[in-house]
Amino acid sequence: MGFSGDSDSNAKAQADAGAMVGANTSAIDGANDDVTTKPAKVVLREIVDAVYEQAWDAKKRGEPVGWSSSKFPAEIAEALGLAVVYPENQAAAVAAKHGGRRLCEYAEALGYSNDICAYARISLAVSDGAPAEERPVPPPDFLLCCNNICNCMTKWYENIARRHDIPLIMIDVPYNNTVDIPASRVAYVSAQFEAAIKKLETLFGRVWDPARFAEVCANANRTASAWLRACGYCAMKPSPLSGFDLFNHMADVVTARCKPETSRALEQLADEYEQAVKEGVSTWRRDETWRIMFEGIPCWPELQALLRPLKEHGANTVAVVYAPAFGFQYGDMDGMIRAYCRAPNSVCIEAGTEWRAALCRENSVDGILVHYNRSCKPWSGYMLEMERRWRKELGIPVVGFDGDQADPRNFAEEQYRTRVEGLVELMRANSVTRENGAPL
């Protein structure tokens, strides 16, 4: 079982940049068609490609195609057999292939401020007809918007709905200030699920089939469980994977979590990690002197720049919050609704801190690198406080850097490099202190 997904060479890192967001890259050309012999990373990439191909096919057949936010309950469209693509994933793919700036500037020329989330700007440009060869998507016939991750989503989708004059199905998930989700909020979201299903049935003449829904939910649960199992290998010392691989495979969990092939491919991935542990190999082909958590979405246009100093210092990423964020499982409708109420940006600071702290503990993290992502206000807005809490609770250093997930103009490599060096110094000092048995 090959591990071609190393993050070692620059050329490889670039190929991975495409892979990370499931974009078609030449790396998969000539891949063996025999599923059993393909590495999981190739299978996973093809699954994402297939999501987009199916949407194009649907369009050609005259069927409706939806654009969906990443944490809209995918189970609904899947159960109704509706083709859906994911603008956030598209934006990430475009950004990883260096189209982010072009499309952000296109959106700015339409009057959108450069303060606005770069995913939104990219998608608004695409919705206006800007070419996005990096990851082309069919124009939308309907929109599935869930604001559990942000309200920017609401405004962004309103703009597209207005421009295309198409139906906008809006599921509103209010923000939570407590770890437990109040029952009245669950009831509110539940009623919206029902309304969304009815609306889609009416719009597209589909019939809701509870048996099909149960099947889809079972797939989603299986995917989540395989995802968690794969992510769990980060806890091994040394880790059989670079945590950046998980950013890579997140594309599948976003775009295809209800499909059985995704569950199978993630199970294969976990098996590969298992095997790698036995063989003592890893997709992180450097020393693992330091084990870090990378907090936030990576700067897609700058993956090489992000990895470079980490490689130089032997700092492997062994924790990313997307593991618990997308590894949600549920037993019934109520559980599913609660799961969708627990998106990274819809949980309170106590829950958000604990998600990450637990990961850091389980995965023996030495230090945390926080991406202050200019695009994502709900995310970056409480990170400074989380930093303090982590330092106190975990006794490990935390360092932040400024960047952006998709607009390269908001990232400065020099600052990043300096911050990584600072983190390494602090981790070193911390390990000496710990060895000497001094209090943290």
């Binding site: 339409l110 009057g111 959108y112 401020s113 303060d115 606005i116 989330c117 939104a120 604001n147 942000c150 309200n151 920017c152 609401t154 405004k155 962004w156 309103e158 703009n159 709905a161 207005r162 906008l168 809006m170 599921i171 509103d172 209010p174 923000y175 939570n176 200030n177 109040p182 009245s184 909020r185 009831a187 509110y188 009623a191 919206q192 309304a195 940006n345 819809s346 309170c348 600071i349 202050y372 200019r374 206000k377 709900p378 970056s380 807005g381 409480y382 990170m383 400074l384 406080e385 400024d402």
Partner: protein
């Protein structure tokens, strides 16, 4: 009331209150009344009033960010950063609680930062529904309000009765009506009710006891109504945005002879343009408040299935007020407003309504750019006015 007396009343009552909320807070406390901070947006102030406590609007403050920079990176709006700054520098020390809605992406982390920064000030959290008009939205909002009511009761140390809420609704509806009347009257007397005076009258409602604000405003409105109509030769504009209460910014309007004849501003008309509805048979007062919230709209913060509602509202404001154009006062880093802007601009351009966008932040010291833009805008409006006049006279109209 003469013109001079009108100005005097505004100065003594409204400007004083608008500019010294901290003194009002002291006065409330000295009189043994608890005060509760009302954060943006659409917090059910009526419940605070019904609890016998004094609501005080929190819309940030002008100044620099210091301590809040330890919570928010630089790319956050003033509402988030300056309100936190106020909490950190002690301006909010006398408050018994704050009521904190979370409807915007900046306010989500704000609530978390607030409770981290000031655990000693109880934060009453509120998560309003975006799908608010359907029955399930009204039911959910009513539930949220019931929790808010309980938490307020704990702060007040007293029960909030249904009757007290009904009474509060009546008091607030009366206040809203009087403020709407003031906005209309101000539009026809722009040299007496300058942009700054207009702002003070409206802003003070966030700090003064509502019955007193309404009573004085009623007298003031009657007096303005009795004045002879003005022959205003300057420009007339509608202002749209989150805040437009900076004295420096308003003086730029004034210097360029731009009268604000209507507004779509969050801490002005958006907060009083619609009343709480009349009760349906035996309706619980919390449900009235929930339906009142459901009836809000034409706001960047509120999702509306009718996607052209805000544009229509803005065009309607221009038409009704006789404004010649719209000035967007764009709060820096305000995603909701920034995401509405291109469409609104397009909608106004399409019907030939001149519009300009000026950037604003509470940390702003230099209004030079706003001055240049508003000078140009004002000249453009005057030119259009002259052209329209000569076109009208050449066609014999």
């Amino acid at each position: 009331m003469s013109e001079k007396e009108i100005k005097g009343t505004i100065e003594e009552v409204f400007s004083y209150s608008a500019r010294h909320p901290a003194r009002l807070l002291e006065e409330y406390r000295a009189a043994g009344q608890k005060a509760v901070g009302i954060l943006p947006y659409y917090a059910p102030e009526e419940l605070v009033y019904a609890a016998g406590m004094a609501p005080l609007g929190l819309w940030g403050m002008e100044g620099s960010v210091r301590g809040a920079g330890r919570y928010f990176p630089a790319f956050y709006c003033a509402i988030a950063r300056m309100n936190l700054e106020m909490a950190l520098v002690g301006v909010l020390d006398g408050l018994s609680a704050v009521l904190a809605p979370s409807i915007c992406d900046a306010m989500r982390p704000f609530t978390q930062n607030f409770k981290s920064a000031r655990p000693d000030i109880p934060m009453i959290f509120l998560a309003q529904p975006q799908n608010r008009t359907e029955e399930f939205g009204v039911v959910y909002m009513t539930d949220e309000l019931a929790r808010v009511r309980e938490e307020l009761e704990a702060v007040a140390g007293t029960r909030i009765t249904d009757d007290a809420i009904r009474d509060a609704i009546a008091v607030y509806n009366e206040s809203r009506a009087e403020r709407r009347r003031f906005v209309r009257l101000a539009a026809s007397h722009p040299s007496v009710i300058t942009p700054e005076r207009r702002s003070d009258v409206l802003k003070s409602a966030w700090f003064m006891p509502k019955p007193r604000h309404t009573a004085v405003l009623k007298t003031l409105n009657d007096a303005i109504e009795a004045l002879a109509p003005e022959n205003w030769t300057g420009g007339k504009v509608v202002v749209s945005g989150i805040l437009a209460d900076s004295a420096s910014l308003l003086s730029v309007f004034q210097d360029n002879r731009l009268a604000i004849v209507a507004d779509d501003v969050a801490n002005e008309s958006r907060s009083f343009r619609s009343d709480m509805p009349l009760p349906e048979k035996d309706e619980a007062p919390l449900r009235i408040l929930a339906r009142g919230f459901a009836g809000q709209g034409a706001d960047s913060l509120l999702h509306d299935p009718d996607l052209s509602r805000r544009a229509r509202h803005l065009k309607g404001l221009v038409e009704e007020s006789g404004a010649q154009g719209v000035v967007f006062v764009m709060m820096q880093f305000c995603d909701p407003e920034e995401l509405d802007y291109p469409h609104l601009k397009q909608a106004l351009d399409a019907v030939g309504i001149p519009n300009a966008q000026i950037g604003y932040d509470q940390q702003m010291r230099d209004f030079g750019q706003a001055r240049t833009q508003l000078e140009a805008f004002s000249e453009m409006l005057a030119d259009r006015g002259r052209r329209d006049c000569s076109a009208a006279s050449s066609t014999g109209r």
